[in-house]
């Protein structure tokens, strides 16, 4: 919203200068701040409404554990809120994506540090989740997916997630990650190969022939 900057006192009438009808510059500035703050709030709310599932999915698939998704969602949107002035209109999604990827990377590093402290490895999922009945279970599928993705290299994982789950094309991925399109293509190839190998390994003795 653009507020008028012309002040009535600058206009002349037959009886002299006009009475100041508009608010003083200070008041106008305050009003502009209020309006601007309200606009920001509305924009932020719109971003949450429109992109929260997308951000949650990226966080989760890029390595944030289920129990920490809520916190990381808040981190992502709070960071975005602090930098609202830097976000171009229409570029909200990619901005949020970049923040979410950084937040998820931080979560992955935290998990890695925890694993260094806790020597106990997570239970092996290969044997316990390989029956055909279990394949239909979404929750177990999620656990298995985590297992597969956790074994991937972080760079490959990010590209795999963006291409396979977010259906972004290679150019979009290259733009967001600021890497050449050729690099995206080669990493994607390797990621898909790794994914398939690990899924085959998961199937173990139940693998269909």
């Amino acid at each position: 919203m653009t507020l008028p900057l012309i002040h009535a006192s600058e206009q002349q009438t037959p009886r002299g200068p006009a009475i100041r009808l508009l608010p003083s510059p200070i008041k106008t500035a305050t009003l502009r701040q209020v309006v601007s703050s309200r606009e920001k709030d509305e924009r932020l709310r719109g971003m949450v409404d429109k992109h929260i599932d997308f951000v949650a999915r990226v966080l989760r698939n890029a390595g944030t554990p289920e129990a920490e998704v809520d916190d990381d969602l808040q981190r992502t949107f709070i960071t975005a809120a602090k930098r609202m002035n830097d976000i171009r209109h229409g570029a909200e999604k990619s901005f949020l994506l970049q923040i979410a990827l950084r937040v998820a990377a931080h979560a992955r590093r935290t998990i890695a540090r925890r694993r260094e402290v806790q020597t106990e490895d997570p239970p092996d999922l290969v044997e316990s989740f390989a029956t055909p009945e279990q394949l239909t279970d979404q929750r177990q599928a999620r656990l298995m997916l985590d297992r597969v993705l956790d074994q991937m290299d972080a760079d490959l994982r990010t590209i795999f997630v963006l291409h396979e789950f977010e259906e972004m094309n290679m150019s979009e991925i290259a733009d967001v990650l600021e890497i050449p399109r050729g690099t995206v293509a080669s990493r994607l190839r390797r990621a898909r190969l790794e994914f398939r190998e690990r899924v085959i390994a998961l199937q173990g003795p139940h693998r269909p022939r």
Binding site: N61, D70, I78
Partner: protein, 242 residues
């Protein structure tokens, strides 16, 4: 450079498809959305916009199904009905009590005042309900009606007697007579072993113990109170006494 097809489209493995589907269909919970809005300071009324409620309701319906949802609504209804019922009952009783007070006062002032106060009693609100209720106990006892003299066991009179007993202890404590207050509280506990104002009485006792110099006992009772009733509205008062 050709754009590769999605793995989900070209995969022939059920497991691969199941895993890819799990990754692509992840959604955040409505609770997570509300928490995020709250963290951003946007969790006002607008946060509960029709759209948001619609989304939450739809996701709940999908998640729980109709029978569970109806059961939940019924449970919420039952839970809210109890305090609401108590509130209505309390309002009714306090209104009766207040009318009794004004009637007693008016009788001593003459019939004209009585008529005026009876009309106003429906509109006016007592500024000190506890005091008014305490007065009710005294006034009702001294009223000429034979029924009142036989001490009817109505909830209002029992509650007002409890209030009177505690008010006595409180006023003694305010005058600096902590041991007198403790004696009154002992008498209260004897008269109302299952009284409805037991918690209030216990807080007064802790206060009286502190003021009478029995700090250790007071602290012990205060800690017991806090561990038993951590969420009570009186808990902050007890903490303040320590």
């Amino acid at each position: 450079m050709m754009e590769p097809r999605r793995l989900h489209e070209e995969s022939t493995s059920d497991l691969e498809r199941a895993l890819l589907n799990a990754g692509a269909t992840y959604r955040c919970s409505s609770g997570a959305r509300m928490k995020t809005l709250a963290a951003l300071g946007l969790a006002g009324s607008a946060a509960l916009s029709a759209g948001a409620i619609g989304v939450s309701a739809t996701s709940l319906l999908t998640k729980w199904g109709w029978p569970k949802l109806l059961l939940t609504v019924a449970a919420i209804g039952a839970v809210t009905a109890v305090p609401l019922g108590y509130y209505v009952w309390h309002r009714h009783n306090s209104h009766l009590a207040y009318t009794a007070v004004t009637a007693t006062v008016a009788k001593s002032n003459g019939p004209e005042t009585f008529a005026l106060q009876s009309e106003n009693s429906q509109l006016s609100v007592p500024t000190q309900p506890a005091v008014a209720a305490a007065e009710v106990g005294n006034d009702v006892k001294s009223a000429p009606s034979p029924r009142v003299e036989t001490k009817p066991e109505t909830p209002t009179s029992a509650l007002s007697e409890e209030l009177t007993a505690l008010d006595g202890a409180r006023s003694l404590l305010a005058q600096g007579d902590a041991s007198g207050a403790l004696s009154r509280l002992d008498a209260y506990n004897k008269s109302f072993p299952r009284g409805r104002l037991q918690l209030e009485g216990e807080v007064l006792r802790i206060d009286a113990l502190m003021k009478s110099g029995q700090t250790d006992l007071a602290k012990k009772r205060a800690q017991a109170f806090l561990s038993k009733h951590p969420n009570s509205v009186l808990a902050s008062r007890v903490k303040g006494l320590l």
